[in-house]
Symmetry: C2
Subunit: 597 residues, 2 copies
């Protein structure tokens, strides 16, 4: 029989649990769902796991599969199940069962809840495989041999039910595919992802770091990382400038009244930093820029002629993530956003949406992203209670957004009942260089800001019009995420315009240092970023260091160069070097930078 891959992965999780139980009879089990490319199981074996444990568990799984036990399902009354798992010492399972019994649900995340059948609170199903009995709604494969090709590849800590006040379990991740070829292909992708890991490259190239005294999830941008960050910011400002954006600057905090008005308080409170009580009220660090921008819009009267008003700001926002969940640049507490809010009339929604789409495509072009598509999330007339009650605005705006997508001939999908409460949105999806599907950004239309903040304009008859539509957009995501993307995308081999150091000048001997410095000064005068390597190393070592630092261009400077006025140019990753006149080199480099190559 051909089982769906999810069923096989889920069954593999049970087999792993059976193996663990054999090796660690006192092991306590949390939950063990399937995930993308595999499965995991949260366990507690009374001590920390080691890499050797993973090897042993893998061996034991092979034995279980060889024995080929069946997946035996049994329905039982919930109290019987509680007694069973209690006897087995499985406290976490007992806790889940008690939740099912008293509340009819385990109230966990969807991912985990999928594992357990809470639809019938009188009885539950349990599965037994190779001596391991699990609370589980199934379905499973018939026998252990039917599970997929697996590999246990890592483990990490995980709080029971994701809450930091709960005990910390250990989560073992397994990859699981239909065939060995699929698994190998995936492992290769993972290896490539590791080679491109932004944390490693960020450290090697001195781009950024985190410091315990400063705090978790708070990026410290080193000079070289700051150069790249500023280049990205310059690009965004230049592009937005061309599209008629204007820039504003707002503080990083605001009184709670602002967030009560926007509706972020109380609903979003847990994601915000804790309040600060001052002599004139309670303040919060901003977790988003929109309320500040709405306040700016509202500060002046606006005529219909002034719209659209596109307020842009590289605003830094702060979000309270659990310290245990923070990882590199991808999960941080401090986010510098390429943010903007576009205030427009209803008849301008289409044009403005199109402009944002065009901006997005321009970035795709500059960064060489070709594998992308868009997802239009719409409301559902069947679930009116979930959406702000402006049916005419919903249908109108969804139609014009669809028109934009069609006119631009981009690949897109429409999804019903996935919109935000306050308006339809377009997610910008792309596939990363290591095959990961990611949302780069979201273009979000907002019907509710005008009501909450009283955003209006004066129409051509002098009347007040209360229909100001807001588009939220940040096509370059946050500096943090985008930098992680850039590092992975280029594996640190940044194009000339982005590279922190563009040209390495490498004097052959000490007596060439002076000429090297003069040359460097001339290059700097032309706007290039240059470093001279005056160390006592051999020129061969200097070349290797410059390659290691991934500097795009290296100039070896010896007697010949000092006399001839010609330069010996090495391009990163190329074996051959070229000789060219200094002026030609400068023109070539400056031109590349200007064209963002």
């Amino acid at each position: 029989m051909q089982y769906p891959i999810e069923t096989r992965r889920h069954s593999a999780a049970h087999v792993m649990a059976a193996a663990i139980q054999r090796l660690f009879p006192l092991a306590k089990f949390g939950v063990g769902p399937t995930i993308e490319n595999g499965f995991y199981y949260d366990i507690d074996i009374g001590r920390a796991l080691t890499p050797e444990d993973l090897v042993a568990i893998d061996q034991e799984m092979k034995k279980v599969v060889k024995d080929n036990p069946e997946f035996a399902r049994q329905e039982m009354p919930i109290d019987e199940a509680i007694a069973l798992f209690d006897k087995l010492g499985q406290v976490y399972k007992v806790e889940l069962l008690n939740d099912i019994k008293t509340r009819g649900t385990t109230k966990m995340s969807e991912e985990e809840a999928g594992d357990i059948d809470a639809s019938n609170v009188d009885s539950v199903s349990v599965y037994t495989t190779g001596g391991f009995t699990d609370l589980c709604r199934g379905p499973h494969v018939e026998k252990a041999k039917d599970i997929c090709v697996w590999k246990l590849h890592r483990f990490s800590g995980a709080y029971w039910r994701g809450k930091s006040e709960n005990p910390q379990l250990q989560r073992i991740y397994g990859l699981c595919f239909e065939t060995k070829e699929d698994l190998d292909a995936h492992l290769k992708l993972l290896e490539e992802a590791e080679r491109r890991d932004h944390r490693k490259i960020g450290k090697d190239l001195d781009l950024f770091f985190f410091d315990d005294m400063v705090g978790k999830g708070l990026v410290m941008w080193l000079p070289k990382g700051t150069v790249m960050r500023n280049e990205v910011e310059k690009l965004a400002v230049e592009m937005e400038d061309k599209q008629g954006y204007v820039r504003v600057v707002t503080p990083h905090i605001a009184r709670e009244e602002l967030y009560l008005t926007s509706g972020h308080l109380p609903y979003y409170k847990d994601s915000m930093y804790p309040p600060m009580v001052m002599d004139d009220g309670t303040y919060y660090m901003k977790a988003m820029n929109c309320p500040h921008h709405h306040t700016i819009y509202r500060h002046n009267l606006h005529s219909y002629r002034e719209l659209p008003l596109r307020l842009a700001e590289y605003g830094t926002v702060y979000r309270n993530e659990l310290s245990g969940t923070l990882a590199g640049l991808l999960r941080v507490r401090c986010l510098a956003m390429n943010d903007s809010h576009i205030y427009c009339r209803k008849d301008q929604i289409k044009d403005e949406f199109k402009k944002v789409m065009e901006l997005t495509m321009t970035y795709f072009r500059i960064f060489g992203l070709k594998d992308y598509w868009f997802r239009l999330s719409k409301w559902s007339p069947d679930h009116l209670e979930k959406y702000i009650n402006q049916p005419e605005n919903w249908t109108y705006s969804q139609d014009v957004i669809r028109e934009v997508l069609v006119e631009m001939a981009v690949p897109f999908k429409e999804v019903d009942d996935e919109a935000a409460f306050y308006g339809p949105k377009v997610d910008v999806q792309f596939k990363s260089i290591v095959g990961r599907e990611e949302t780069m950004s979201t273009i979000q239309l907002d019907f509710v800001a005008k009501e909450r903040f009283g955003l209006t304009y004066t129409d051509d008859t002098g009347e007040k019009n209360e229909e100001v539509f807001v588009i939220h957009r940040a096509p370059l995501s946050t500096h943090e995420r985008f930098m992680a993307f850039l590092i992975e995308h280029y594996a640190g081999d940044f194009p000339l315009w982005l590279a922190p150091v563009q040209v390495a000048v490498l004097p052959v001997a000490d007596r060439h240092n002076e000429f090297a410095q003069k040359l460097a000064a001339e290059l700097k005068g032309n706007g290039l970023r240059v470093e001279v390597d005056e160390s006592a190393e051999s020129v061969g070592k200097k070349i290797r260091n410059s390659e290691k630092q991934k500097i795009p261009l290296a100039l070896v400077v010896g007697d010949k160069e000092a006399e001839s006025g010609e330069l010996t140019v090495r391009s990163r990753g190329e074996k051959d070097q070229m000789v060219m006149a200094k002026e030609e080199f400068i023109r070539m480099a400056v031109e590349k930078v200007e064209q963002r190559l």
Copy 2:
């Protein structure tokens, strides 16, 4: 007899108090010291003051002066004084006396303490003038006619002893000069200052605002203010780039451990925003950038070749000022600093100090400031307990700083015993366009950071050297203060390179709008900031509006211009208009902007 002006001003405060007591017999008096250009008195008359009250008090003062009572001094035991003021119902004076009695001091600010003789706690002196008796150490003029030429010019709220938990009194300010001419000259300066008031101009030109929902002292930069802010930032970055600074970006918060290391906690705690307790420690918003920068320096090893390392950041810091003390851009809670910390070897202190001085002078030149001087604050070998114990560093660094000031032939003063605990400093002083003496910035040497943060470098023999000197400097002050300065300095008539809108294009009639837009697009393409006035107003009104908006250049565009390719140019504040070829106009404008004119 010729009295010092301070004595005459102080006596005027008593005469005002006497007048107030006559008009409001139940008035309670706080303190009434002299200040720059005059005096004030804090009072409580049981209701809010009105402008009419000031007129009445002024009239009554004239009567007191006409009566010409003497200033009668009387020494009395402190208990007798307490009984006296208690009987008079002067609760604030009784409080001060009790403080003197129990603690030997009134523990107020220096300014206020100067009023009362706390050197002898057994007896105090009181002065009586025109029926008003005051606790006061004097000295005073002999008779009321000897006070100076005064004018009561404003009043405001003031907390008793400057603490927000205390009752709010009302403070009446009086100007007071030797002659009517001096008073008139000062009033004229005040009038000019009012005309140049940055709050008024900031509002008129839509540069910035404050919003109650966002919070007090938190500047919201409107698009036009942001343009200016960015121009200043661009200037700073360009200048610093030329001097070899590198830029970094750090978060706006840090754990308390960082501030305990730097020593800001606990001593500076009251000036910082309240702590935020997170799942991994206690966080504070940063009130200064140095601890973050020291952390960056410490993150990598540094060789002697790499120094000086000049880390620069436009970092925004937050300071907890009492909400009642906040005023426009001059006293805010959110400060964006043109900040940098220079890490150098001892033998580099002189050069680095000189470079910062040169940078400062460049800014003076660009902004046309000619009336400046420098103050070198040194330690005192007589008060070693006040200063970090590195005598050799003190004498060495003070000597090289003096050498810099002498070599640059700038006016400077040396002041003993005025240095910070951790190193000597140079204050950059200038006289503002309305005659106010201001400190634009401070160049501060720091001997203590290396100890607190363990800042080291590897010397040319490979040994670790722990003598890393830090220079703190922010020659352009904060964006907030500097913008206030710019507005006042130029009275809103900003030079072309700084003006939020540089060129106004004014179509004569609707039919010229298209040509106007085309022209505007061409100017924008050349990097100029342009606005087209398409309103239905007459061209005369459009010109007046553009003058009111203080736009430096206006182009009136009618039939002639649309046909000829020549432009009619009006420069702000000039009656005559000029006709010139479009290309010439563009060249002229772009050149001015590039030269920062």
